[in-house]
Symmetry: C2
Subunit: 320 residues, 2 copies
């Protein structure tokens, strides 16, 4: 079995895998975009070359012989692998190109990602972007996303996460609300305050906080909360806070952007919220042997754009 022999058989072997899938020469011809007479002829040639019957034919249907099934079993994966390689090589052509579907939190997308998109697209003219803003946890593979920007504490299996920037949650209220209802001095007091809750699948109606007391000692408190408003959009909650409706736990990128930012005051600043929004923003993507260049460009762009984080209210407040 020399190299010249195998080379001639390759397209026919590949065709055989399609035949095995479709179990029909006609369908195979349609899928490969060739004449069905070619399928018939090439299959015959292949069987002749290997000197083994591969397909048992009735006039109306076909079945693989054991030899044919074995052959398909061994080669199918290889053809898929080769196809991967070709896709990877194509991606290296010229400038990064292709469609990148990104899922991102609503507030982050509107306030911080959208403004940086023109710079990205003008730098890479062949990249097309599809931005899906949603605060739910999407299934990347199932819904066909290349990238999700999330506050994720844990990364789903067979996915890869890249840290973009630090991003914490902050507890907020308006000066008016605090004047009217008093300023909480301990998380436990939140139980009798009006708390505006972010709705998320599986999120409980309680907030947890942490405070470092000694060198390494930490204090942890969990408090049940309730209030007059729940919403799954952090900007809605922020405006409600600004309007004096109550206290909310919001991601910093929502808190310090928008026109109402100056109406917000941090509450219990020495207590760090735990386990609600994570401590950093991550770009999450389904694992693949090689990252498409376009996707990598988007990730890099976001990392640069968001590098400074959202931690400094002064800066953001003055810039809005």
């Amino acid at each position: 079995m020399s190299a010249r022999d195998i080379a001639a058989l390759l397209p026919d072997l590949h065709m055989l895998t399609v035949i095995a899938e479709t179990r029909s020469l006609t369908q195979t011809a349609r899928r490969l975009g060739i004449a069905k007479s070619s399928v018939s002829m090439r299959l015959k040639d292949l069987e002749q070359a290997l000197d083994v019957p591969l397909v048992r034919r009735t006039t109306r249907s076909i079945t693989l012989t054991p030899a044919g099934a074995q052959l398909v079993e061994q080669t199918r994966g290889s053809f898929a692998h080769i196809e991967q390689g070709v896709v990877g090589a194509k991606d290296l052509a010229g400038a990064p190109r292709g469609l990148v579907r990104v899922s991102a939190p609503v507030a982050l997308g509107r306030q911080h990602i959208a403004p940086t998109i023109p710079a990205l697209l003008s730098r890479y003219p062949d990249i097309r972007l599809e931005l899906d803003l949603s605060d739910r946890f999407v299934n990347l593979v199932q819904e066909g996303f290349d990238l999700a920007i999330r506050h994720a504490s844990r990364v789903p299996e067979s996915h890869i996460a890249v840290a973009l920037c630090a991003s914490a949650s902050v507890l907020l209220a308006s000066p008016q609300y605090l004047a009217r209802n008093g300023t909480p001095q301990h998380p436990a007091e939140l139980a009798r305050h009006a708390c505006l809750l972010y709705l998320r699948d599986g999120s409980t109606a309680s907030w947890s906080f942490e405070r470092t007391t000694g060198r390494k000692a930490t204090q942890r408190v969990s408090v049940p909360v309730s209030g007059p408003l729940r919403a799954n959009n952090s900007e809605v909650l922020r405006e409600a806070v600004a309007g004096g409706l109550g206290i909310a736990l919001l991601p910093d990128f929502t808190a310090w952007s928008g026109p109402s930012a100056h109406q917000l005051r941090p509450v219990l600043p020495e207590w760090k919220p735990v386990g609600f929004f994570g401590e950093r923003l991550q770009a999450i993507r389904p694992w693949s042997p090689r990252t498409p260049r376009a996707v990598q460009c988007v990730i890099d762009h976001l990392r640069k754009s968001l590098a400074e984080g959202f931690g400094d209210p002064q800066r953001l407040r003055s810039s809005v």
Copy 2:
């Protein structure tokens, strides 16, 4: 990237792996048995189809671009795998066929394998056999053997062993020798007997024996031995024993065959030799994803032929 696209590229991708190996379009053409103009043209077509330069050409030599190298790296293994599959499928055609190279111990080969070969070859007319008789441990892969018949206690890595039949070692002497020098009653006495040694790489000049004393208790003795003759051929040793030269430790298939078998007497029959020749005869072959049918036929044939083993001196003695 649809199925039809990949199918058309397959021969060209395979050609690219050959180009990567030879680093020459001319050599590639020669190895694939096609015109070098075809190589040049198809390479150009492939680059056009992928829209990536794959090979950097000087008028006199070529180098792969990073994209080309990456593509080859990803696809080469797949093509090799496909080739394996084709070889496997071809093997399923018609009757088992092909050359089987077998290495076997000299005595076993002459006395027990050779007589059964005609039956094998007449049953499978398309199988060709090459029998290499040698008592050394051959390197199967390096020397191109498909099969080795050995007393092996341990099987080399990435090899597979199939047990053929039981086969032990026996300690032998002639009646004359025993009459002249006395019959040993304990292995320790062997140290002052004339012991005929089998020469093998790394074999020490000592014999070990084991005896079951109680229910589960075993006694073990190792004794240094020496004598007037060493040889790496067990039949030579057997004849020497028959001639009264001394005591030898021989595999049973050597002991109980040949015209001199009736001149031999077991010595210390209640002591079992340990770690010299193993307890069973094995067929050892290099691992491969699928056993060629011809090789499997030879193994099965040997197992049937040798099934009865060599343990019964009476039977063999009378048949020779």
